[in-house]
Amino acid sequence: MTLYAVIFYVLAVVILASTLLAIIQRQVIHAVVYLIVSFFATGLLFYLLGAPFLAALEVIIYAGAIMVLFLFIVMTVRAESGEDKGEIYHWLPAVVLAIISFFVGGVLIFKIPGSKMSLNTGMASPATFGQFLFKNYWFPVEIASFLLLIGLVGALYLGRQESKKESEDRR
């Protein structure tokens, strides 16, 4: 049981616990905060698994931008709380299906060769990663930036305040 393994299992527990708590919450804000914790832990896990650049990105983008965006929206939108009464027929089918999938997935994982092998440690420095990325995957990077532009424009348009005239036209 190496140190790395211990760290891994601790991090795993944290991630699972916080995600579980996140999906159970009634209030969306609570769920978002738990999720931020989960993403932090995931970032650390990435670092453990040899991707420091991605770990940083996880924290910055996922936990820092996306979840904060969620927070903004939750606070802006006046949503009625108490929407979900947590009826059993809502979550029972999902849980049943999830359990089935879990077992099947487990079977799948432990059948593939090499699943029992321990992972070696490794570290991909940001420089290496950057060179690799721009050498082999420059085109998807450009596309990704384009995608972000589109998302930006879309969000702007959808989020604008409608003038009186436009809302009357729609009616």
């Binding site: 453990l48 996922y62 009625e80 929407e83 593939i112 092998m117 992972l119 989020g159």
Partner: protein, 101 residues
């Protein structure tokens, strides 16, 4: 030596299923989106583990793209949610059933 590869994948699967359960069983639109984010995150984890196993950087590059896509998708998704909340006044997914039948 860290952990067996299978354990990491197992973790990813559990995370993914948690996100799926959240997406399916919650009625609040925001919670559905949150479930999607959890699922994307789990996929990213699986990719990083695979990249470490095969000692290839392609997996990590793909995680980068996942981040980009997730970001733009969340932006647009949330804009849509805000818009539809303005239109119908409710964030309950069950209210949006005009395609019934």
């Amino acid at each position: 030596m860290i952990v067996p590869y299978g354990d990491v994948l197992l973790l990813a699967i559990i995370l993914f299923l948690l996100g799926a359960v959240c997406s399916i069983s919650r009625r609040n639109l925001l919670m559905i989106l949150i479930g999607v984010e959890i699922m994307l995150n789990a996929a990213g984890l699986a990719f990083v583990a695979a990249s470490l196993k095969w000692s290839l950087l392609d997996g990590q590059a793909f995680v980068l793209f996942i981040f980009a896509v997730a970001a733009s998708e969340v932006a647009v998704g949330l804009a849509l949610i805000v818009y539809s909340q303005r239109r119908t006044g409710s964030l309950n997914a069950d209210r949006y059933d005009s395609m019934k039948g």
